[in-house]
Amino acid sequence: MVDVTSDKDVAGSDEVFKEVCGLVTRFAPEGMALTPDTELAAQLNIDSVAAMDLVMEIEDHYNIDIPINEIADLRTLGDLAKLVRRHVKG
């Protein structure tokens, strides 16, 4: 599943990335800027269970299903936006 549109620059500016950031803000320490390189576990303290719960909110928002098999190796916000974009496009 190659996605040619999801290099970092695109990921930083598109709608999906912004919406994902909106759902993640509550995990971010005050004043932290969210970028595609922001690390979910190390910087936002989102552990494996919190990541699955976050994905559930995203699923509701877009009316999609993201299998948990695809969540295991998410590392950054950019990875998350890329995953979501792939499913939104169908």
């Binding site: 552990d47 269970v49 299903d65 299998p67």
Partner: protein
């Protein structure tokens, strides 16, 4: 780089827990005094955190059967059931369990954990889709991973959410729904009848893990599906011997005519040693007792009502309706750890449950009941919980 670096954060958290007192994740029981009491740290302690729901771990008939089996058949077994042979007892227990559960066929596994691995990875494969409840036990998550199936997680106990997800899923794939009867951390039960309706609507299969509900729910003790009168819609039942049956081992049961192919298709059944003669023999004895003695069920329910009502009266927030588990909500991890230590000092052993092992970041003291608790023990425990409230108030104002 150290290969254990990946655990640095959780090791740090564990160190912090150790600073607060005893390690809640490595409690040493020096001596079991009965099904409900033990010596822990030199203190006589009431056990309010075991899964010995029917209190049968010291049942004299089960102990005799176990000792006799060890003398007759030995301490270990010949090895894997498929490679090294079955014992007559394995097959007899399978027949007895199938009869008790009113299922065509039953398979016995070496632990309950392996029962989930074997059932899930046996029934589902890489071309199938699994829909699992988000609060599922680790063994269900691991079974899903092992199966190679696409795994979709739905909101806990939410048949509408499951319905939406099944509706979005493409046709032509086999769909397996997995839920538990009683959830062991919060102590809430699944709306199985509603799940069964959703399953039928979408032509899916339904697997229910009755690990914590067997022997406790249902008129005859078959679990939550029996209690909700929807057993006919449950395709696969999973369970364990380690709770109501007071042994070690697990099982899966079904009416499907091809179910027994899992004996040569499911790796967690094939590539591990068969359960020990002693454990099988005591499970058989406890199954007979469970089937024939409804007083055990009445006793645990009486104890459950008594504990839940008492805790609520003391002002504790209990997560679910009265049942064999009473999970007390506390505001944060530090309070939960302090409360857990205080209770141990007061001679009450409960389970500390904190994230990521709990849903929605909950910090809990998980209490579980046994038919073997005397009502006077429950009252004694409640007295100690009253003293804990006092300590928690002092802690809050300190």
């Amino acid at each position: 780089m150290d290969i254990f670096d990946k655990y640095a954060t959780i090791i740090g958290r564990h160190d912090k827990v150790l600073e607060a007192g005893t390690d809640p994740f490595a409690v040493r029981v020096d001596e079991m005094l009965s099904a409900t009491e033990a010596m822990i740290g030199g203190r006589r302690t009431i056990l309010l955190g075991t899964n010995n729901y029917l209190g049968l771990t010291f049942d004299p008939t089960a102990i005799d059967a176990s000792v006799e089996a060890a003398r007759r058949d030995g301490t270990g077994t010949t090895g894997s059931r498929i490679a090294n042979g079955n014992y007559a007892q394995h097959q007899e227990l399978e027949l007895e369990l199938a009869a008790f559960l009113k299922r065509r066929s039953c398979m016995v596994f070496t632990t309950g954990y392996q029962a989930n691995l074997a059932m899930i990875a046996g029934v589902a494969g890489p071309r199938d889709v699994i829909f699992m409840d988000s609060d599922s036990h680790a063994s269900i998550y691991d079974g899903c991973t092992l199966s190679g199936a696409k795994v979709i997680r739905f909101r806990h106990n939410d048949p509408d959410d499951l319905d939406r997800r099944l509706a979005r899923s493409p046709e032509g794939e086999c769909k397996l729904i997995i839920v538990e009867g009683l959830y062991s951390i919060l102590g809430d039960t699944a709306p199985l009848k509603a799940f069964a309706e959703v399953k039928k609507k979408h032509g899916a299969w339904l697997m229910v893990d009755e690990a914590h509900s067997l022997g406790v729910y249902g008129g005859e003790g078959r679990g939550v599906a029996e209690a909700q009168d929807c057993e006919a819609d449950v395709d696969f039942v999973v369970g364990t011997f380690s709770k109501s049956l007071a042994a070690i081992g697990g099982f899966g049961a079904a009416n499907h005519p091809r179910f027994d192919c899992l004996r040569f298709c499911s790796r967690p059944y094939m590539f591990t040693a068969s359960p020990s003669p002693a454990s099988i023999a005591s499970a058989r004895a406890s199954l007979r007792r469970m089937a024939n003695d409804p007083n055990l069920r009445a006793a645990i329910w009486n104890n459950a009502e008594r504990l839940h009502a008492g805790l609520r009266q003391l002002g504790y927030t209990v997560a679910a309706a009265p049942g064999p588990v009473a999970a007390i909500r506390l505001p944060d991890e530090a309070t939960a750890v302090a409360a857990w230590n205080r209770l141990l000092q007061l001679g009450v052993y409960v389970n500390l449950a904190v994230p990521p092992g709990t849903p929605n970041g909950a910090c809990l003291l998980r209490c579980s009941l046994s038919a073997a608790h005397a009502p006077a023990q429950i009252d004694e425990v409640l007295g100690r919980f009253e003293r804990l409230s006092q300590s928690l108030r002092e802690l809050a104002t300190a």
